[in-house]
Each structure stands twice: as structure tokens, then as C-alpha cells.
């Protein structure tokens, strides 16, 4: 029993690592294609059919590039920073149920690595640690642009962590559990039971904060190409830089899963249709990240702070108070 459990967990971990590392590569391909179509271009076309092998070309490029550690950089921290981003992104996946449980060869598989009863807190905590990747990377690379990026990263992440936590408080009060599976079962009754209908404010706040947490446009200030080159990534090259990207795209996928599980019914009753719907909903949120990048400009850092502390946080607090009153009476 014990050995079987360990083997099963190890297999799950390997599968998640492989699938989402590959998906991160495909994510960059989708991003280029979608951005290109929205801007009336073709995007990558030359490598392989419809440019599909572009991912392989990128991978070869990243792996064979010279790995440069600048002389003035703080070596050990500079080297470990990208690993923090990628590792924590995948650590967060441990508490996410990716599919409803299914039976294969008479063996019931739960597609979640560890169903801890504080799954949501775990994901938020691990993501909070993940912010150290960009932060330490930019602090260690002794570069002016990276330093600006570090200051922005610290302020953005601290501020939006507050919004994420507070916006989740109201749904948590309703469900009364921190487990994502409990969240899913709470909404298993069909579209009418989805938390989005009872907590629309929390949904929008969490969605906005998700953009800040993954550092995507319109909150892409940490690595804003036209102002501060590549921010924390300025001094990085080769696969170290690639690790930052794998972390970012894995985070985008995982947060899309989390949004669907929290607010949009997850995989419902666990049927095949529910599982397909789950993946479709997740893909929509991933697509929305790319859509926003094509459609919206970046906002200024001071606007970002204004939005967080003067709009989103009061709204989240009011939402918690109103939910409390409604639940009491």
C-alpha cells in the first residue's frame, strides 16, 4: 500500500512536470500565433507546418546559447533565482485537481498529487515564494534596469497578494473549506450552483489579481520591454532565462485551473463531459491572458498602485462584509 502510494505520487509528479513543461513551450507558440492573428500577421510560419516546430527551434536555441554570468553579479543568487520561479510554479500544481478521478485498468486514479485540506492557502503561499525568482534575480544581476524591475516586482506582488487573499475570503466563507475538491463538489449541481453567480465581485477581483500575480499585460511592469529592457531578465541568457519563461507560462496555466475550480464549477460531477468542460473553461482563461496582451496597453506603476489600494482592496473588504451579513441573516 505504502509503496504503491509513493510510486503513484511519483508518476503523477513526473506526468505533471512533463505535460506542463511541454505546454509552457506550446504556450509561447499559441501566444505568438494569437497575437499575430489579432494584429493581422501570420506569426511563425517557416519552421515546420504552420511554424509548429518553432518550439523545438526555440528549445535548441535556448539550450545551446552561452550561459553568461556577469562579473559583477552575485553569483549563487543569480544562478538560483530562475530555478525558484520554475520550481515554485510546479510546486503549486501539487494541490490542483487537474481532472476528476477516473478508473484505469481497475485502478482508481485521483489526478491530484496531494489533496491537502488547505489547498488554496498552499497555492497562495507557494506563489508568494515564487515572487522571489524575479526579485532575487534582478537584485543579484547588478543592472540598473533590473533594479527598477526589482522595486516594481516587490511593490506589485505585495500589493496584489492582499487583493488575492481578500477576494478569496468571501467564497471561502460560503464553502467553509480550503480544499479545491470541496470547492468543486460545492458547485457540482450544475451551472446554477457556480460561485460566480453568488460572488461576482470576488470573481472579477481574483481575475484581475491573477494578471498581476502572473505578471501579464496590463500589469507587465516587471519586465516592460519598452521601458526597462527585460527587467529581471536583462542579464540572463540561455536556459536560465528560459526557466523564467517556463515558470511564467506554467503559472498562467495553473492559475487558469484555479479560477475555474474556484468560481466556474470546476469539473462538475466528474463525468467525461464535465472533464472536457473543465479543460475548455481553463483554455478560455489561458486564451484570455493572450487576448488581453493583444488588446490592452500596459498601465503605469502609480496607476497600478492606485488600482490596488484605492479600488480593488476596498471592494474586496466590502464584499467580505456584505457576504458575512448575508450569511448571518
Amino acid at each position: 500500500m505504502e509503496v504503491a502510494y509513493i510510486i503513484e505520487t511519483l508518476i503523477k509528479i513526473v506526468v505533471i512536470l512533463l505535460v506542463f513543461s511541454a505546454l509552457a513551450g506550446f504556450g509561447t507558440y499559441f501566444e505568438r500565433k494569437i497575437l499575430a492573428f489579432m494584429q493581422r500577421r501570420l506569426g511563425p510560419m517557416h519552421v515546420g507546418p504552420f511554424g509548429l516546430l518553432q518550439i523545438a527551434a526555440d528549445g535548441i536555441k535556448l539550450f545551446t546559447k552561452e550561459d553568461i554570468v556577469p562579473t559583477n553579479a552575485v553569483g549563487p543568487i543569480f544562478k538560483i533565482a530562475p530555478v525558484i520561479t520554475a520550481a515554485t510554479a510546479f510546486m503549486a500544481a501539487a494541490a490542483i485537481p487537474f481532472l476528476p478521478q477516473f478508473t484505469i485498468f481497475g485502478y482508481t486514479v485521483h489526478p491530484i498529487v496531494a489533496d491537502v485540506n488547505i489547498g488554496i492557502l498552499y497555492i497562495l503561499g507557494v506563489m508568494a515564494v515564487g515572487f522571489y525568482g524575479p526579485l532575487l534575480g534582478s537584485l543579484a544581476s547588478s543592472n540598473k534596469f533590473a533594479l527598477i524591475s526589482a522595486a516594481r516586482a516587490a511593490s506589485v506582488f505585495i500589493s496584489y497578494e492582499v487583493v488575492t487573499g481578500l477576494s478569496l475570503l468571501a467564497p471561502l466563507m460560503m464553502v467553509g473549506s480550503f480544499s479545491l475538491i470541496d470547492f468543486n463538489n460545492y458547485q457540482a449541481g450544475g451551472i446554477g450552483d457556480w460561485i460566480i453567480w453568488s460572488q461576482p465581485v470576488a470573481f472579477v477581483l481574483f481575475w484581475i489579481a491573477a494578471f498581476a500575480e502572473t505578471g501579464r499585460t496590463p500589469f507587465h511592469l516587471v519586465a516592460n520591454d519598452h521601458e526597462i529592457i527585460d527587467g529581471f531578465g536583462t542579464e540572463y541568457s540561455g536556459m536560465r532565462w528560459g526557466l523564467f519563461f517556463i515558470g511564467e507560462y506554467a503559472n498562467m496555466f495553473f492559475i487558469s485551473f484555479v479560477i475555474v475550480l474556484l468560481f466556474l464549477g470546476g469539473f462538475g460531477d466528474g463525468s467525461v463531459l464535465g472533464a472536457l468542460g473543465f479543460l475548455l473553461k481553463m483554455s478560455f482563461f489561458f486564451f484570455f491572458f493572450l487576448w488581453t496582451r493583444a488588446a490592452w496597453p500596459d498601465i503605469r506603476p502609480d496607476q497600478l498602485m492606485w488600482l490596488c489600494w484605492k479600488v480593488l482592496m476596498p471592494l474586496a473588504v466590502i464584499n467580505v462584509v456584505v457576504t458575512g451579513f448575508v450569511m448571518m441573516f
Binding site: 491537502v116 485540506n117 492557502l121 497562495l124 522571489y132 537584485l139 505585495i158 487573499g165
Partner: protein, 169 residues
């Protein structure tokens, strides 16, 4: 037995992190040592099977406190040559260690003289519900007093940081 070895490992990290926080000359390394100590402390909570405190520790101390100190390091941007010269730093640290050694011995003696019966943890120990009940029912007054203290500190910080209104405005 496994618990003991994990505890020893965590304690080692905690001590190393705390020592590094004081000992390193470069502020960046100090901050990271501090983070290491905080993570080790979170691990201690996990070892006590208190999952909420474990994650609260990570989210608050690692996710906010250390990030804020890093933000201060970024904005101050101290250069190596501007740091104060501390030639006798490690001698002072040794002196401090000698100074607190009697206290440590007293604590050690007190702990070893304690009876070897462990308090039984009740049903649902470490769960969110128990935490909430303890915090908001049994200890609600101290909790509220602490929040008033924090509020006062925040008001004080804002007053200090605020710009003086200029006369011609």
C-alpha cells in the same frame, strides 16, 4: 525518529539563517538568511501538524516581511564602501554569545527538568476551525488590542513619512 531528524535539520537551518542574518556584510545575503530562518520556522509549525500556522508563516513572513525588507534594500541601494566599518564585529558577536550563554543554560535546565508527559492535542488540532475559535473567541480581547497597536504603528509611520505641507500652497 524521522521527526527528530527533521527537527534537527530545521533547527540547523534556523540557527544558520539567524547567524547569517547578523553576520553577512552584504545586505542582500542578510535578507536571504532571514528568509531561510523564516522558512525553517514555518517547517517547525508543519512538524507540529499545524498546517494553518505553517502557511500563514510562509505567506506573511516570507511573502511580505522579507519582500518589504528587500524593497528597502533596493531603494536604499547601499554600496559596499558606504557600509560602516566593523573591524571587531565577530569579537562583539562572540561576546554576545558568552553573555547569553547562562540564559540558554537556564532554559535548557528548565526544559530538561520538566515532566516527560506531553500535552495531548485535542480533536481537530491545527485545523482552521480550532485556530479561529482560539483566536476570535477565547483570546479575542488580546487579539483586538494587538490590532489597535498595529493601527497606531501604521498611523505613526504615515505621519512620519508624510511630506510637510509647503507654506506657499
Amino acid at each position: 525518529m524521522l521527526e527528530n531528524s527533521i527537527f534537527v535539520l530545521l533547527a540547523l537551518f534556523l540557527l544558520l539563517g539567524s547567524a547569517g542574518m547578523v553576520g553577512f556584510k552584504q545586505t542582500l545575503f542578510s535578507a536571504i538568511s532571514f528568509m531561510m530562518a523564516m522558512l525553517a520556522l514555518a517547517g517547525m509549525f508543519a512538524l507540529l501538524d499545524n498546517s494553518f500556522l505553517f502557511l500563514a508563516q510562509i505567506m506573511v513572513s516570507v511573502g511580505a516581511v522579507v519582500v518589504l525588507s528587500l524593497l528597502v534594500i533596493v531603494s536604499v541601494n547601499v554600496k559596499e564602501e558606504n557600509l560602516p566599518k566593523e573591524p571587531a564585529k565577530f569579537r562583539w558577536m562572540l561576546f554576545a554569545v558568552v553573555l547569553v550563554a547562562p540564559l540558554a543554560i537556564v532554559i535548557y535546565k528548565a526544559l530538561t527538568y520538566m515532566p516527560h508527559t506531553w500535552a495531548k492535542t485535542g480533536e481537530g488540532y491545527g485545523s482552521l476551525k480550532m485556530m479561529g475559535m482560539t483566536l476570535f473567541k477565547d483570546w479575542v480581547l488580546p487579539f483586538e488590542i494587538v490590532s489597535v497597536l498595529l493601527l497606531a504603528a501604521m498611523v505613526g509611520a504615515i505621519v512620519i513619512a508624510r511630506k510637510e505641507p509647503s507654506n506657499d500652497a
